[in-house]
Symmetry: C2
Subunit: 414 residues, 2 copies
Amino acid sequence: MSAELSRSTESGVSEVDLELARARAGLLRFCEPPSAALAMFVEQVGAVQAWRGILARRAPRAVLAATAARTQDVSAGDAVLRADADLATAAAVGARLTGPGDHEWPAAAFEAFEGALARGVRGACAPVALYVRGRSLAGLPRKGVTIVGSRASSAYGQRVAGEMAHTLVSGGLTVISGAAFGIDTAAHRGALHAERSGEPPTVAVLACGIDRAYPEANRALLDAIGSTGAVVSEYPPGTAPARHRFLVRNRVIAALGAGTVVVEAGRRSGTLSTAAAADQLGRLVMAVPGPVTSAMSVGCHLLLADRFAQLVTGPTDVLAALGRTPEADNQPAFPGTDPRHPTDGLDADSARVYDALPARETTTAADVVAESGLVGPRVLSALAILELHGLAERDGPRWRRVGKRPLAPGGNPG
Amino acid sequence: MSAELSRSTESGVSEVDLELARARAGLLRFCEPPSAALAMFVEQVGAVQAWRGILARRAPRAVLAATAARTQDVSAGDAVLRADADLATAAAVGARLTGPGDHEWPAAAFEAFEGALARGVRGACAPVALYVRGRSLAGLPRKGVTIVGSRASSAYGQRVAGEMAHTLVSGGLTVISGAAFGIDTAAHRGALHAERSGEPPTVAVLACGIDRAYPEANRALLDAIGSTGAVVSEYPPGTAPARHRFLVRNRVIAALGAGTVVVEAGRRSGTLSTAAAADQLGRLVMAVPGPVTSAMSVGCHLLLADRFAQLVTGPTDVLAALGRTPEADNQPAFPGTDPRHPTDGLDADSARVYDALPARETTTAADVVAESGLVGPRVLSALAILELHGLAERDGPRWRRVGKRPLAPGGNPG
């Protein structure tokens, strides 16, 4: 076996690099993800040793069990040849293999799996490696937002997904999705149409081999994503898409974003599994409402009704829910918003009640009535409006002002 | 004054009744609501003594202050004549005056104001009396649901409001609204078109005198409501609608329903004041989502995003949110729902995971994976789906089954 591992390589790739790449390719080839046992073994001994151990049948029993189905009739030599072939197939479509320790590996994105695994969630483990076509994943999940939804989407959902992706990417973020028809496609397209920033506009995570286009009709889209963003897969080249792989893949989609936005989902949409995975990983789950008359919004409304997801109506809400402001990331302002003047355009009552609220202490609504000279229900209404805008805060029966009202209400800069 | 108070009346009305009616009419005529001072005074001494006290200028200073503007140039005799004239005007349009102590008075609806007042919410007080055209309000708020929304509503909102009202009324409830254009009108109409049950289908609360139709174009609608349901007002006959009266009136609309549903509302819709009033009264606030592209749903989305309101997509959600089932009120089943079989139609994975959950204890997702034979993410997805349907409950990292799965999944009765 050492003969194979040390044979010479194409120019420019060190033997150490090749050995690591081959080990990763072999691990992906011979173990269907997710395998927490394999992930732990790799974390303990590294990919190269793990791979050698499996080939030599010297590995934890759970790892041998997880790889048995694919390795039992394969000699170590053939296994290595197969790993090399996978690397070659990947290279032929412009893909490389990346894993833990590489600069481009989104280590921060996958840290969350450790907690989920510790909580007893079997299958909640990071990929051992990823085939990547395109750019580095290093900025994720901090710079990423996952946008997913049904294949059977409405024109409404596609529009919302496309515009959301477009605006988020224009603001310097990366949109992660699954390249499926419908919402995924709209999100990827919206991202690709945005003006280029420093980050990859969009990342597509496949449930099949990196050399395959699924759905086939999205081949050109995937090529475009691979050229300006990134297409990734934890499956060895040639792997066919299968139902269980979509569900397994969804955990990677959820992990790569700081939060997951469900734009449309039917009552039993597979999209809900991405939402569940995001939740398990401690990622914020968001959902876009839609007409209650639309079957494509039923899943979103279930998520919202049970307060499993935060309601978002657009990119500004997504950023706010994630605790981001365009400023915080030093990005250009988002169209249609002016975060510098949150009280701009308040109605007269609300402005009057805002002014009646003390800046440093709490007060009762009755005192606000006295101070503002407005009758009780108008004050209550105004307080509710201020609260909705985050300009007043309730503390039991008492209220306090939040933030600072600018001097020129209603004014726009310039 | 005792001469006026004891003069004989039309046939069938006792002097005691007339004295009470006249006192109530006078109180409504000479004090613009809401006046917590007057409400408290009336609660302490009764309407008749309160009215006599005000006429004799022997009342708490706050009460005299609240009534000063309208009583200062009026003799006691003229005041009584004016009250009698109001009763006559009301009677001419088929309206009567009701108040605390009457069988038809919705005492339970107005109890909530006491708590709000105790919390320092000035203006949060029950009406001293109400003019009523039509049926008794005795079943409210238990049998009532308030449905409100913007005048500038969309066809979508009108459809949702109309269908919701229709279904709720078909199930034996009463829909309360404000007779404004848009959502209010759609709710009233939907209620009127429902099959008649024991309860009044709908109640309209006016911000003007009971003898006026506002908006004028809704005169026929108000007549229809007054004939099978009820039209009510706390304003003396002839009172013109005014902006502040709509806001004051909204507290009555909120009080008469067990919960308030906002179907559509713009960003600064007056409808939000009804939601705020409902919240102050401890009533459940519900909101219907809509397209994020619709300005008419912005207010609803604000309420939902801040978790100020519970998301509802239709009448079944409203009943569930209010803790009602059609059975609980011995009402006919609602169209399109079958509450007897909550797990009907579960997908195969979810059914399998449901069966894998122990009935009496909690378990980890990992154990469910082992038990169900499904991979982790499928189990997670199924658990999320079960949780959304209220069939599984999370307890930290552990899960438990909720309810009992019927033997024949997917089956409909008969």
